[in-house]
Every structure is written in structure tokens, then in C-alpha cells.
Amino acid sequence: MRYLPLTPDDRKAMLETIGVKSIDDLFTDVPEAARLDGPVDLPRRATELEVERAFARMAKKNLSAGEAPFFVGAGAYKHHVPATVDHLIQRSEFLTAYTPYQPEISQGTLQTLFEFQTQVARLTGMDVANASMYDGSTACAEAVLMAQRITKRRKAVLSGNLHPHYAQATETLAKYMDITVETEGAAPGKADDLVKYIDEDTACIVVQNPDVFGHVRDLAPLAEAAHARGALLIAVVTEIVSLGLLKSPGEMGADIVVGEGQSLGVGLQFGGPYVGLFACRDDRNFIRNMPGRLAGETVDADGRRGFVLTLSTREQHIRRDKATSNICTNSGLMALAFTIHLSLLGEKGLTKLARLNHERAIDLADRLSGIDGVEVVTDAFFNELTVKLSKPAAEVVEKLAAKGILAGVPASRLYPGKFENHLILAATETNTDEDLDALEAALKEVL
């Protein structure tokens, strides 16, 4: 087998050195009834070519974003990623390294994480950030637990326009942790009223911006209301490119910002792996209560700058049942992709990219609002907006898919049984005028 270096002769010689007769002698601790005599009932080994063919067969059954006019968003966005990014994350030394527990031979990973943390903090308008989480939804859930630890309060208020997957992931994680989660109903195209939920038992309010329907809101009044009652404001950003154009959550008073970094460097990947962003204020109590890995600056024995994983006393491998979370990996390679893409873009590139996205969405809104049977319900947006169709959106999307157009996410896919006619569409720098033409023509035909 091509991945196994031992030859039959090697195996024989090694068994001899060990002093046993056969490999079976090394498995004698296994209860006899549980020992398998031979291979399980699955295909035998396959050549590279055979595996490639099997995968190509499955891959061909999928309509990829690059093959279609593409307007799907709702938490994951199609952006162009420079070829340099994918090349670099495939460097052996990044791809096949472990968590940087031995800092002397892991400075590559550690310095990039430190750069990542700084970029995330600046982008979100916060002071510190961690070395990444699994994804945006788990970052959101962890932020609620962190707010509970900080405030010692047990209620979390979730915006109804928070991505339902995020809300559900948060509810699931909070479920057995003595936290009550309250949610306002969703309201496409509107900023829901969360202030009324805040009371003395509220640890945090969680609000997404732009929200799942694409609507942009000012978080400042919410921050004020929350702070007035001793609660924290957790801001969620699922489209990180938006921060190239919009005010950062930090500027608007958020205490913790969590986000999905998929838009930069990572790609669509059918939903994962993505990269969760986690940033907060520079407050001792906050930092000690953060989940996840942190890279920090220090010096080595020769006094030269270096980086290490730090504040690990928060973590499970030290604190065990007292840890801030059970997390023991971040999304390292995706964080690297994010940081390389953002290093390439820089502030100049990111702000331009954000503006291009916004302008494409404006084009999209203008096109859509000119079609009979389409009502644009989002007036303040970044690169995503929601329309109300004259027919059920799921049907329309299926019909357009049959024409090779991926037209967006029916709101009912996220809110089963609700918003039947609402469709969420995103536009990015990757959409051409021809894409808009195709969408417009197909919608006119179908509606």
C-alpha cells in the first residue's frame, strides 16, 4: 500500500526484535469476541486512479458556483480568492504541522496567528482576538457562554434576524448550561426590537449585522441599552467583507464580536471547514474568560522576539472540568488562508472590494425591483437583500436551478413553514452583468 513504508521483511524483523511471533500477539488485550478475523465488509484498497474516478463521478453531479450565475449567501459567500492563498496553505510546513505546542519549531504558525489576531481585532474594532474558532456559529455560542461567565447572569437574548443556524447552535450549546435563550421573531427587512427583552438577568443580547436577510442596522442604541442594564452586546458578522464598508461593531459599542471569516481566503466548501472569528474588549476579565487559543508575544532565551500559545490556564488540557470551553483546536489552516488573503488585500483592497460588493448588490436590487412579482424588502444593505416573490421562493429557486441559475436561499429553508415567498439573494464582486441578465430573464419567465 503506497502510504505504508514497511515491507513484509521489515515486519518480520521488527516482530523478532519485539519478541513476539505475529502481529496478533500485540492485540491479545482485545476481548476475543471482538477480534475481527479479516477485513470488514468494505471495498479493498484502490489505486489513485480508481479513487480519482470515483470522486470525479460524484463531483460531476454537483452544480458548482463557478458554472452558474450565482446569488446564494445567507452565511456563506462566493468571493474570488487569489491563487497565492491556496498555494501557501499547501506548503508542507503549514499544512502538515501540528498545533504549535513546541514554540521553538512553530514560529511560522505562531507568528501568522498573531498577525491573524491583530487583523481580526482591527477589522472588528475590538482590542483583542483569539486564534480562531471552528466557525461563526460556534463562535457565537461560545460568546454567549463567555457573557454568562463574565456577567454571572443566565439570560441571553437573540435577535430574530440572527441566522437560524447560529441561533440553534447557540441554543443547543446553552441548553444544559443553565442559560435561558429568548428570541424575537424574525422580521425580513426590519431591525427587530430587542431592547424590551433586556432585564437585570440578561447576560447579553446577540445581534447580527448585516442580519440574515441582509439588513444593516445601527448597533449603537442597542449597545447603550444593554450597557445601561449591565448586559453585554454581542455582535455577529457573517459577511466579514462588509467591514470594509460598514462601521465596525466596535465603533458601535459591541463588547464581543464574533464572525464567520469564510469570505476571505476560505471559499464555499459546502459549508466547512470555515473559520470563526472571536474578538472582544481588552479587559482582564474578558480575556481570562475567552474561549479558544491565543497566541502571544514574548522573548526567547537570547532575548529575541518570539511567539507562544498563552493563557492556556483557561484551557481544557490544563483546567479540565474548569476550562472556559472544551475546545482544543482552532481552525488553523483556514485562519492562515484568511490572514494571507487579508494581507494581500490590505486596507485599500478590502475597502475597494467591499464597495464593489455593495455596488453589485445595488445593481441587483435595481434589477429585481423592476420585475413584476418581485418586491425588494431590504432598503439598507451591504451585499445581500431579501425580496418577496409572487410565488413560493423554494419552487422558484428549483425552477431556476433547472435552468442552471443558483438564485439564492428561500427564507423557508432557514425558517421552515415561514416566509414562503421570501428569497434571500447575495451579490459579490464575482457577479457579472451577464449573471444579472440571466437572473432577470429567468425570473421574468418563471414568475
Binding site: 501540528y98 512553530s106 498573531f114 502571544g296 488540557h317
Partner: protein
């Protein structure tokens, strides 16, 4: 050579990405545009390339040499996996496209699920957990949900061996449980008497790693399973070490109720400097109904993803919830399935055997100069303690750092906690005999050197690494977590 940070090198008005000029349309953000600078430097493409290539060379990696981190399973990462994961049909599809347009992708998830269920002999697998610890959470939440469904509100105590990974107790707590430690016996396994003594009506589950973190198979595992079940609790198996027994033992045959599988450890998806991982979790019949959404289903020739609890209930299930946005780590699924299909059922079994053989070979070759923590053979990891360093002035840490100067990544140190000055060595199946011989020669030579009093070689190590020993105390006492603004 020191590599500056991008913040020290990059220019705030430069960019390594070309973009068309915006048209200058009036914005429609509701007046919420950013006015302040962000503070993000941009580097031209050549500068970016060089910065990260140079940084990469400060890392050790599997592709450079043996990476014997016990409990971490650093094995070869085939590039076929990388190639296949990048097929546009997998990497460039959106999780919320119409399911009719991603039939091949759902099929792939379903196919991987089939392999995992067959290898573990279990009837159900939750594919969405994003890492091993996330899989643990998935398993323990299902246990909690099952207990709740049974109305068992008093069962909140979870038994965890002393030698367990730290994630086990942390996970139990996140599910509203308390933990109770079980000591190890003299052979490095669960002390059965202590275990029996701890059983009771408030016991929710046991969390047991098998092979355990000492690299040993828990001989009494069937009895443990029976006893915990009799006591009304569930058996969570930490599958971190599944790689030692794939194809030779099916955990379902051992009586487990839930087990996560680290695709990056057992099925070769790259560790990537600390992630992403992927932790699909298999369930017994008893727990299957409580598995989270989403899950994959096949009706005739049509594949589908069940995304909502209501749908799941229509299937007769009672999911404990949703753990994550979307459907899991597709990019890791493709890689893992590529690896599994490449090996096949016979190759996977061979891989487990070779992993165990390699570990025992190290144990046998080094047992004279170093001190094995326990008697007898081991599974996929060889565990030594620091008795052989007694009175040498060299600690386990020093010994490990000296390995760096010899061109190796150190083994896992001071874990498991049940062994003094533990050194846990896992070579994996992808090391050659010649490579192991060189490695053992080095270990033996270092052990002799320590005993011969060549202390400086250890306490001053590493000297030939990109950095000398780093001041971790300073990092923690005066945390500098971001680069200060200019």
C-alpha cells in the same frame, strides 16, 4: 533570521490584489459607512509570498521528519486527498444550494458515513461535529438528551479516568454533568474495583478512551460496558485512538454507545497547524434517535439532508439540536474518504497493525536505556516515564527540547498525568523501519548522554532551532495578543 510582522512591513496604501474601480454609486447602507481607518497593511503579491514562505520555514512538519507526538497521530497526509478536495464539484458549492444541485456532495457525505458505521459497527453517525472535542460534546449531549427523555433528572455524574484527555471533563461539564475521576491500576488501565465502587443511581455515563492515553487497550472494556449499562448509564468512548484498532476491532462490538472519530488523526486529514479538525460521532441504537440535525438520508436514488428538527421528528427521531451552521467539515470528508478508499478495508487494517508494530518496535528498542511506564507490549503509542533521568539534572522537558537539536519534533510530554514525567511516543504507520531505527538510535544516544552528565546539551536546548526556549511566563503575565497600532 527574524521576519517582521506584516504590520511592520506592509504599506497601508498598497495592495496585492487588483480589483476593478467601483463606479461610485451612492451607497444604500442606511448611513452606516465606516469613516475611521482600519489599520490593515497590504503587501504586494511577491512580498506576501516571501513573507509566508519564510515564516513557514520556521515550522516543523510531518513532511520534514518524524513527528512522534503521542495522542496526536501525526501521519502522512496524502496529496491525493488535497487534489480531490479541490475538485470544483466539492470545493465550490454552497451549503444552501438546492439539494437537487448537490446530489454528489450529499452522496459523498453519505458514503463516508457508511464507511464509518461499518468500521465501528454502529447504526448511526452524526457528521456535523467540527473537531474531536466537538464530537465529544455531540456524544455527551445525546447521552444527556437520552437521560432527559427517560426522565432521569438525577443522573448527572460522569466517570472519567485520571488518564483522560482534558477535553473529557470539560465536555461533561458543558453538558451539565459533574465529573468523578477513576484511578488507574498498576497496569495503566481502569482500576475495576474503583470503577465498580463509583457506580450508582446518579451515574450518567463513563467516558473512556480506548486504546487509552497510556497506549494500552482496556482489557476489561466489555465488562465496563456491561456494568455501566446495568447501572443505567451510557458508555462514551473517546475515539482519539481509534487509529490503533481500525479494521481489527469494531467499537460497536465492545458495547459503546457513542464515540467520536478524529478524521485528522485516524484518516489522515492534515492538522494544518492546529485545525481544522472533524469529529463525526457514531451512536448505538439507544442513542441514535437523539443525534443532532443535519443528517443524510437516501430515498431511492435521491439523497437529502434533513436540516430541521421537525423533519427529523417525522423520521421518528428526537434530535438534541443543531451543533453548527450548515452540514459539517465537507473539506475534511473528501480527504478522509479519499484516504479510506485508497486503503480499503484491507489497507486500513494493515495501517492499524503497522501503527501498533512501529510503537512496539520503539518500546522494544529503547526499553534498556529508557524506562517504560508499564510492563508488556503497547498499542500504537509507547509510554515512558522519567525514571531513567533520575539524578541526571535533566527533566522530561529538557530531554524533549534536546530532540529538537537532533532534528526531531519532541514526543508528547507530561501526559498522561498518571505517569511521572511522561513521554508518550506515537510513530504512526507511515514511518519506515529505517526511519525508526535512526530515531531510536537518537533516543538511546540522548539517554546515554544524559546519564553521562552532559547536562548542558539538554538544559540549553534547543540551540539549532529558529528560536531558543521562549519565556512563556512573561507571555502569560503581560499578555501581548495583538500588535500595537502604529
Amino acid at each position: 533570521q527574524a521576519e517582521p510582522l506584516i504590520f511592520e512591513r506592509g504599506d497601508f496604501d498598497n495592495s496585492g490584489v487588483d480589483l476593478p474601480e467601483p463606479k461610485g454609486l451612492e451607497t444604500r447602507t442606511g448611513g452606516l459607512e465606516r469613516t475611521a481607518r482600519i489599520g490593515l497593511p497590504g503587501l504586494s503579491e511577491p512580498e506576501t509570498m516571501r513573507h509566508y514562505v519564510r515564516l513557514s520555514r520556521k515550522n516543523y512538519a510531518i513532511d520534514l521528519g518524524l513527528y512522534p507526538l503521542g495522542s496526536c497521530t501525526m501521519k502522512h497526509n496524502p496529496r491525493l486527498n488535497e487534489k480531490l478536495a479541490r475538485l470544483p464539484g466539492f470545493i465550490d458549492i454552497h451549503p444552501l444550494q438546492p439539494q437537487s444541485t448537490v446530489q454528489g456532495a450529499i452522496e459523498l457525505v453519505g458514503e463516508l458515513a457508511r464507511w464509518l458505521m461499518t468500521l465501528t459497527n454502529t447504526p448511526c453517525v452524526a457528521m456535523s461535529p467540527k473537531a474531536g472535542a466537538h464530537g465529544e460534546l455531540c456524544g455527551m449531549m445525546a447521552i444527556r438528551a437520552a437521560l432527559d427523555a427517560r426522565g432521569e433528572t438525577r443522573r448527572r455524574r460522569v466517570l472519567v479516568p485520571e488518564s483522560a484527555h482534558g477535553t473529557n471533563p470539560a465536555t461533561a461539564v458543558q453538558c451539565g454533568f459533574t465529573t468523578d475521576e477513576i484511578p488507574a491500576d498498576a497496569t495503566g488501565r481502569v482500576d475495576m474495583e474503583a470503577f465498580k465502587a463509583k457506580l450508582g443511581e446518579d451515574v450518567a455515563a463513563i467516558m473512556l478512551t480506548n486504546p487509552n492515553t497510556c497506549g494500552l487497550f482496556e482489557r476489561d472494556i466489555r465488562e465496563i460496558a456491561d456494568l455501566i449499562h446495568e447501572a443505567g448509564g451510557y458508555f462514551y468512548c473517546d475515539g482519539a485512538n481509534f487509529n490503533a484498532i481500525v479494521g481489527r476491532v469494531r467499537p460497536g462490538d465492545l458495547g459503546i454507545d457513542a464515540m467520536h472519530i478524529n478524521l485528522h488523526k485516524t484518516f489522515s486529514t492534515p492538522h494544518g497547524g492546529g485545525g481544522p479538525g472533524s469529529g463525526p460521532t457514531v451512536f448505538s441504537e439507544a442513542l441514535a434517535p437523539f443525534a443532532p440535525v443535519p443528517y443524510v438520508k437516501k430515498d431511492g436514488d435521491t439523497w437529502s439532508l434533513v436540516e430541521h428538527e421537525a423533519e427529523a421528528k417525522a423520521d421518528g427521531n428526537d434530535p438534541f439540536g443543531r451543533m453548527v451552521a450548515f452540514h459539517g467539515q465537507m473539506g475534511m470528508f473528501t480527504r478522509a474518504l479519499s484516504y479510506m478508499m485508497s486503503h480499503g478495508s484491507d489497507g486500513l487494517r494493515q495501517a492499524a497493525e503497522d501503527a501498533v508494530l512501529n510503537a512496539n518496535y520503539i518500546l522494544a528498542r529503547c526499553r534498556e536505556e529508557m524506562t517504560p511506564a508499564f510492563e508488556g507490549t503497547c498499542m500504537h503509542e509507547a509510554l515512558f516515564d522519567d525514571r531513567f533521568l533520575k539524578d541526571t539534572g535533566v527533566s522530561t522537558l529538557d530531554f524533549a527540547k534536546a530532540m529538537i537539536d537532533e532534528g526531531y519534533h519532541p514526543m508528547t510530554m507530561y501526559f498522561p498525568l498518571v505517569v511521572h514525567g511522561a513521554m508518550l511516543i506515537e510513530p504512526t504507520e507511515t514511518e519506515s523501519k529505517a526511519g525508526l531505527d535512526r530515531f531510536c538510535d537518537t533516543l538511546i544516544q540522548l539517554a546515554r548522554s544524559a546519564k553521562a552528565g552532559e547536562t548542558e546539551r539538554f538544559t540549553q536546548a534547543p540551540r539549532f532551532a529558529p528560536a531558543r526556549r521562549l519565556d512563556e511566563t512573561r507571555a502569560a503575565r503581560q499578555p501581548v495578543l495583538t500588535h500595537a497600532a502604529e
